[in-house]
Symmetry: C2
């Protein structure tokens, strides 16, 4: 059936569209990936890989959204980051040569390419520019992690929730009605902020009372960005 046919994305085209790190590769190198990659499709809830497992490659997202999280000892998830088209995940484990320190689960149905670790390593060895870009990427992520640590350690849940909402706006954007372009359960929101589900619910409805957001089920409409910024920021 036509509607079930899937076009396996070409890396060069995908890199151009999404701005993935592969844009720093030569045409020949991209072809290599194209040839050796494995195209996969996942649906909401599917797991790409589990924390603690050894991974033989990494993933490049072509379509959809994935959450990357760690599991605390009581089973509670802490969401570390999201991956969207153009992002790569699991490269950390591949490069540090450690078992996966996170799990990855699909939030929105995905098309992804799985790329063997050896290719990554070989490109690092042969294409110094690509290596540098990868370093840039990991160092940038490290900077973000540092900020996140400071936020969680010092800000209140209320401040963090406002901040996360703004972060999601930045990362996923708003549709033409100012609805957030990513749909999360309250629990998932709580697992980013690092709080209890009930707290998110209460704070969200406070935000609603204060005309900062509107809520339609899981859809969140951003009504007052300045207000959220004010809450998320400062010397409070």
């Amino acid at each position: 059936m036509k509607q079930n046919e899937v076009h396996i994305p070409f890396c060069d085209k995908c890199a151009l569209q999404t701005g993935s790190i592969f844009k720093h590769l030569s045409g020949e190198e991209v072809d290599q990936i194209n040839y050796q990659k494995e195209f996969r499709q996942y649906r909401r809830g599917d797991i790409l890989y589990h924390e603690g497992s050894r991974i033989s490659g990494f993933y490049c997202i072509n379509k959809g959204i994935i959450k990357v999280f760690k599991t605390g000892l009581d089973g509670k998830e802490q969401i570390i980051r999201f991956a969207k088209p153009g992002d790569i995940i699991a490269y950390r484990s591949v490069l540090s040569n450690e078992p996966a320190c996170t799990s990855a689960k699909v939030i929105e149905d995905c098309n992804v390419c799985f790329i063997p670790a050896e290719i990554l390593i070989s490109f690092i060895k042969t294409n110094s520019n690509f290596a540098l870009e990868l370093l840039k990427l990991s160092c940038h992520e490290l900077g973000e992690a540092n900020s996140f640590i400071t936020d969680i350690a010092q800000k209140t849940v209320r401040e963090r929730l406002a901040e996360i909402l703004l972060f999601l706006v930045n990362d996923f954007g708003l549709d033409n009605q100012d609805y957030l372009q990513i749909t999360l359960t309250r629990e998932e929101l709580a697992n980013i902020v690092g709080t209890a589900t009930e707290s998110v619910i209460r704070l969200l409805s406070e935000f609603k009372s204060d005309r900062l957001v509107e809520l339609n089920g899981r859809k969140i409409r951003i009504m007052n960005r300045k207000g959220l910024e004010k809450i998320s920021n400062v010397f409070n």
Copy 2:
């Protein structure tokens, strides 16, 4: 005066002793660093660089201990990590080409070498093995940051304090009387754990009552590692 003379360390010897990342460089490359580096000495309390500033190089620690921290909006420090002999700092900003996302301050009097950014970049371009090791390093730090995020988000202050103590034991070791080989103020401890100074004081004295530690001023003696592990770990 003899006792004020300082021997500028040779990178090859230092790398051998400390296991710094420079051990992955060729003799010729190490010589280059030796030639272009700038040797500096700092005393407790000195600042190496400030958050937000552009840095033209990075630092390799030869002697001493440095804390790397972010400043929250109310001025409260969040300690991100420590650097000890063999560690490099500020490479993150150099590589991601961003302003420093942290400040660095001396905890124990230091000898460090300042190395221009260009050298780092050029070695990445010419020595792919070195690039790979740097990637390993940054990815490893990223993994640690992720764990830290999860801990702060999910564990209690009590659990985190116990964990941090064990972390410090691992990183800096104990002397022959089981005293922790790093000396921190209560405030600094609080700024790692992400809590208030008073909370650290109270918890430490609880730990003391429970025979887990002994306290002599800033010196902390670890009396019962298993006990601390039990507190830090698990399902509460």
